[in-house]
């Protein structure tokens, strides 16, 4: 059948609160617009750990295994200390990214004019900001071996990690970037540190080779990562698709977060390799973390998770009209003044996580 299987895993911290709202909205698209999804909720974190000894219990593994798309909340928080590191690691987000080979992490940065007042950047700088950072997610220094901490003969300690990339690891994520650029403004900016790192020299050579072989219709440019960080603050509207390695993408996407008003606004998807039909396993999640300081208070911004559902509608469900409908509903809610604490001007009325979900549903 054409039914898309979706595992809904709220996780820890503010994860369950925000996912409740995006889950409601996904149901709305299923009920009212006939989006063909089968939703299966599953647990992650301290609660299943206490019951089963695993942060990622068998039922959740099964739900994620069979899923075409995973709607993920957040992991970690103060409760982390109650779970021993080994149990934590066995079910970590990094291990999931690796297990499902989710190598292409897409993080759209879109400035919303309604939020210009609470953003640190000037409205003139935010004008026309609409780009996507594609971060390589399953290699680089996050996963490279050897790694560790050793004691040297003189008693000192030495920590070491390995940054590494192969031809195919670079080319497949660059391919995702070039293909995405074809559906957008046709521009890719590849970010590296080729003036210092051999991994970056190889990165740049392979990106150029793929571009020449298959994507010469796309405009390709290159920036050093330090310059890219500055340009993202100075003039973020210059970018369309940016592609970079794991650690640079981690830093640059947070650096860019402020161009969208708040980290709480940012959606993402992590895509695996295409199967014969071009379908890719996908994990949708807000860019923000578990935010333990506000967890359980019902004040977190659910828009990062809700906009991740819009990405799911566009990418996994191939329903661009529904995606746009949802994005417009978010715009409408914001334009009408709906503000969670993170995006509210000092003194302005703040609404709850649930009320923001209501505001978006009402605008649909």
């Amino acid at each position: 059948s054409n039914t898309i299987k979706v595992a809904v895993v709220g996780g820890e911290g503010i994860g369950p609160e925000v996912t409740d709202q995006s889950h409601r909205i996904l149901k709305w698209f299923s009920d009212r617009r006939g989006a063909p999804v089968a939703l299966r909720e599953a647990q992650y974190g301290l609660i299943p750990y206490l019951a089963t000894g695993k942060v990622l219990p068998d039922d959740t593994v099964e739900a994620m295994e069979e899923a075409d798309a995973i709607l993920w909340g957040a992991t970690g928080g103060p409760e982390t200390t109650e779970v021993p590191p080994a149990a934590r690691k066995a079910g970590s987000l990094l291990s999931l990214r690796s297990k499902y080979d989710l190598y292409a992490n897409l993080r759209p940065i879109v400035a919303n004019p309604a939020l210009a007042d609470s953003a640190p950047l000037k409205a003139s700088v935010l004008k026309d900001v609409d780009f996507i950072i594609i971060r390589e997610l399953t290699s680089g220094i996050y996963f490279g071996e050897p790694r560790g901490i050793e004691t040297l003969p003189d008693g000192q300690r030495r920590g070491f990690n390995t940054q590494q990339y192969t031809t195919s690891q670079i080319r497949r994520v660059a391919r995702t970037a070039f293909e995405l650029a074809r559906t957008r403004k046709g521009r890719v900016c590849s970010v590296d540190k080729a003036n210092v790192l051999e991994t970056s020299v190889l990165w740049r050579e392979e990106v150029i080779a793929l571009h020449q072989a298959e994507f010469s219709d796309i405009e390709l440019s290159h920036l050093y990562v330090d310059n890219a960080a500055m340009q993202i603050v100075r003039a973020p509207s210059q970018f369309d698709v940016m592609v970079t390695c794991n650690i640079f993408g981690d830093i640059l996407s947070d650096c860019a977060a402020m161009a969208s008003g708040s980290l709480g606004m940012l959606p993402s998807v992590s895509l695996g390799p295409p199967d014969r039909l071009g379908r890719r396993k996908a994990l949708y999640e807000p860019v923000h973390g578990s935010a333990p300081d506000i967890a359980g208070k019902g004040i977190a911004n659910p828009l990062g998770s809700i906009l991740s559902v819009a990405m799911m509608l566009r990418i996994t469900l191939n329903r661009p009209d529904d995606a746009t409908l949802l994005e417009k509903a978010v715009d409408t809610a914001l334009a009408a003044g709906a503000r969670t604490a993170d995006i509210a001007e000092p003194g302005a009325r703040k609404i709850s996580t649930q009320e923001m979900g209501d505001a978006v549903l009402n605008a649909l």
Copy 2:
């Protein structure tokens, strides 16, 4: 004698132009205020390469060797292609940092209210921004071995680099940070990625150990690098002294550049280990590079280099009053409307590199 030996090396691209202005100003402090400096000019780059086969000729090596402080311009540019990579590498900035063990790179970020109009950040965000990033400069992924590009049995290539830190490498740069914080607001923020990298786990443990042993009067906090990049854009006034590894410092300081209005405004110094008298070899340079696109036009902003001279007056010459005098003269020139192209509002009058030097001298 107490005379401080200074090697003045303009280098390539806009390096010579901006260094001409900071050199004039350093001479002014020598002539008019009795700053005890002996200045020795030396060449670097394509010109000496064509004459001697070395970008860093023997005379320049000698000048730098005997110097207490080096006033450095910039390296690189289009002319780079005329110098073979091996000759380039033998005299590169990275090799100099390593040769003189200049492990502590200080990059102050100070927002100037006069530049608020041309900055991308809002004036409210720029208010009270005054912090220093201390970047470890002679280890980490820049220098770690093994490194290279290899061909795998299946014909693919693999690039690899090693991020590495030892106990003493971490502690000595953290010490610089804690000592500097004692002369400032007493706060150090250490930036790492300890949730992913073993090098960062060790970094954090060693910073904490040194803090407990010798600097418990200082307020110490820790941020993950992705969060730090966001906080630098969101609320840069929260920081006093930030300390981090080589690659994170490279990225974060450019990310922070916009909080000071323009990359052209940023000074820096790279310090070696203290000798028995506490004196440290020091290389002063603007954070910007050789900017080949505007080289030779006489329009570059010399304030990064001029403010590096203020740092030299404060640190190597131990003349804090002279340092403040020069910083105030820069403020006066800016407040009076002196603007090179990089910091001018659209349509405003732009002055040349030389005229900016004049404006600062007149304000002294």
